[in-house]
Assembly symmetry: C2
Homo-oligomer: 254 residues x 2
Amino acid sequence: MDYPNDQHPGAPVRAGIPEHGRIPKYYAVKARVAALLDELGEGGTLPTERELALRYEVARETVRQALRDLLLEGRLRRHGRGTVVAGPKLEQPLALASYTEGVRRQGLSPGRTLISLDRFPCQDALAEELGVERGRPVWHMERVLLADDERVGLESTYVPVDRVPRLDVEFSPDLSFYSYLHDRLGIAFGDADERIETVLATPREALLIGTPPALPMLLIHRTSRDTDGKRLERVRTLFRGDRFSFTARLGRQG
Amino acid sequence: MDYPNDQHPGAPVRAGIPEHGRIPKYYAVKARVAALLDELGEGGTLPTERELALRYEVARETVRQALRDLLLEGRLRRHGRGTVVAGPKLEQPLALASYTEGVRRQGLSPGRTLISLDRFPCQDALAEELGVERGRPVWHMERVLLADDERVGLESTYVPVDRVPRLDVEFSPDLSFYSYLHDRLGIAFGDADERIETVLATPREALLIGTPPALPMLLIHRTSRDTDGKRLERVRTLFRGDRFSFTARLGRQG
């Protein structure tokens, strides 16, 4: 839940309008379309750009700019040749739980598509993060993340070959890597450091995930250790910013 | 630290280039400018658009698009009439620690500018989050967040008037609200729920923070409780996505 300014009567400003009172025209259209989305409800089909331009008496380019914003924010989604009202963002816990668990908790079916799996000699920075010697072999596994068959993210996992020597022959890349580590190798996660930021997808990433290049993404960096405190993996996961949010429960001392 | 594809020799693809091999021209320029930034180092001044267009033999519009990306990503910043190489993003812990502590830890000086402080009768959704009855008075305090005098965020705090009856006369809005609660009223934080997402700033928010409207922002929603488990505040903080990242330490069970 968000609190737009129009929810508190005493406020000097309303719904994103600057104090100087000059509202960009596309933004006024955006606010009206946003109200329309609430009426239509999730899955409802939006009128065409042409119809909206006529309805609001503005140029189609103005409507297009408003819809672009709403698409980037995840309030709308393309569906075939039309545009429909999107559901709320998925909430993924910032926790040691895997992607699999997080997506299942939302009632969706998680999936993955392997893009590449290869081994290479570990470079300096990565060697430090993985706690291995420079030049030791490391797996790099890159997978597209799916939720109900929709592409929602891209994950790069770096893990020393010594820890998972048979990754290439034993592991089904459409399944959970964490379950594999646990069930097959008896390795469990102890703790992890995460860093979250917003970035633009590269053209390659945008192509793999199927997003417009301008879409803001959430990038999560993770380095994790097993229950013995030994460094285990370095992961870089890119999530669609219009489809995901992340939650954390903070205790007395973080 | 990030691992571009060119760090692992076995990879089929390099540095964000799609598999089909067609690199958008602006992206090739962006990659070359990014390499130039590494050479120049933090604070170094970038050549003008005109000079870069001549150097790379492309149109100025192509250079402009590349620089826009690098600005949005926080790798460049405007400085007076020029453009300089930006430092790394600030890392703010996702913890009960206040903004003040987080910024100080980075060696910067935190500050705040009051935009508005008013009281209004609590609406439904907010009443539930604050654990107060609908219609009870609530403070809404809106402040711009500063780091070394640079505007980096915008914070809206909602807190029941009953908890902090003298907020308007007792509290200096350029100081830490958490310190005020603790030192003056003996209220300490117990735990909090946070949700983090990426959004576009509204025109009003962009104006207050002084960012271009297209800049992706990180929005953090927080509801927190005091040490007695009583709900205390609802906060909505918008941070510049080009200037901030958030870190978390994850334990065995999140």
